[in-house]
């Protein structure tokens, strides 16, 4: 109340203040990047049927969903990019012609937004045409991450790496 004598201070104090939780956010896969928040599938969960990958990548001009099977991607010490994506199972990105709304990619049984990885193309590692469906997602451990890029394709944003079991 005291500070409301001054308009500028009043605006600042009316903003909702955060109180620290004892439960901390998960670390980013690429720790020096800015945060892309991801929501589902929840880390360590068990997934059956259709999977909705929910996130918020609105801050990044370009983004990519990458899904890995069995082994998580490798980040070399001191590097700020993924150095090994050999376990890539699928993904999607608006750097190609894949549909991308910044909030959700659906892995479905018939109309899916997830595309096959192209191990021969480290620059554009996701196919433009070959689609992944739930039927090809066999039982096992999977990891997923959202990466964000500037308009000049600099990798600037990263989400945590989440794991789920099929």
């Amino acid at each position: 109340m005291f500070f409301c004598l001054f308009a500028a201070s009043c605006t600042a104090t009316n903003e909702p203040a955060g109180e620290p939780s004892a439960i901390k956010p998960p670390p980013l896969l690429l720790p020096d990047k800015q945060v892309i928040r991801v929501f589902a599938p929840v880390n360590l969960s068990t997934q059956a049927g259709i999977i909705n990958f929910d996130f918020d990548s609105t801050m990044a001009p370009f983004s990519a969903l990458m899904i890995f099977k069995t082994n998580p991607p490798t980040v070399s010490p001191g590097k700020d990019y993924l150095s090994d994506i050999s376990s890539c199972w699928g993904g999607a990105t608006n750097m190609t012609t894949h549909p991308w709304n910044n909030f959700q990619v659906v892995l479905d049984a018939a109309v899916s937004g997830v595309y096959v990885c192209d191990p021969l193309s480290p620059i554009a590692p996701l196919s433009n045409t070959l689609v992944r469906y739930t039927g090809s997602m066999t039982a096992g451990t999977y990891y997923w991450v959202i990466l964000g890029y500037e308009a000049d394709y600099r990798l600037t944003y990263s989400s945590p790496l989440y794991k789920f079991t099929r």
């Binding site: 203040a17 109180e19 004892a22 439960i23 670390p27 360590l44 997934q47």
Partner: protein, 139 residues
């Protein structure tokens, strides 16, 4: 003189015990129904649970935002194996909105966020379940 003192002490003792009986009887006639929130962990692992009250609550990168946010349950570990997979909480009177934050214990890395659930129209009782797929349901 000594006899009068003893009589006085006895009198006070009788009055005190009558008051106690009276209070007990009143409570029995108007039992208070406590608030009750049950958390059920059907997730794949044991989870940590932290609960906040307030309004417009949200978890954002390690902070709880909102209005008049107050922690009403400090972090507690809930097993994912029955019968130990439930946690009974008694929220304070007047609480209408709660934010339940679920986490996992990563050892030296600390308590790491999994998901959260907001209970917006709490009326004094209910069960919040964390399912194996990470979704939450409140009934």
């Amino acid at each position: 003189m000594r006899q009068r003192k003893i009589q006085l002490i006895l009198g006070v003792a009788i009055l005190l015990s009558m008051r106690f009986l009276c209070t007990s009887a009143d409570s029995a006639n108007t039992p208070k129904v406590p608030n009750a929130l049950t958390i059920v962990n059907n997730f794949t692992t044991p989870v940590l649970v932290e609960i906040w009250s307030g309004s417009k609550l949200a978890y954002n990168q390690g902070n709880v935002t909102g209005t008049d946010q107050k922690k009403i349950q400090t972090v507690v570990l809930v097993s994912n194996v029955a019968p130990g997979n439930t946690l009974d909480v008694v929220p304070p009177d007047g609480v209408k909105e709660m934010l339940v934050i679920f986490g996992t214990d990563q050892g030296v890395a600390g308590y790491i966020y999994l998901t959260d659930a907001k209970i917006a129209d709490y009326v004094g009782t209910g069960t919040l379940t964390l399912e194996a797929n990470g979704q939450t349901t409140f009934q």
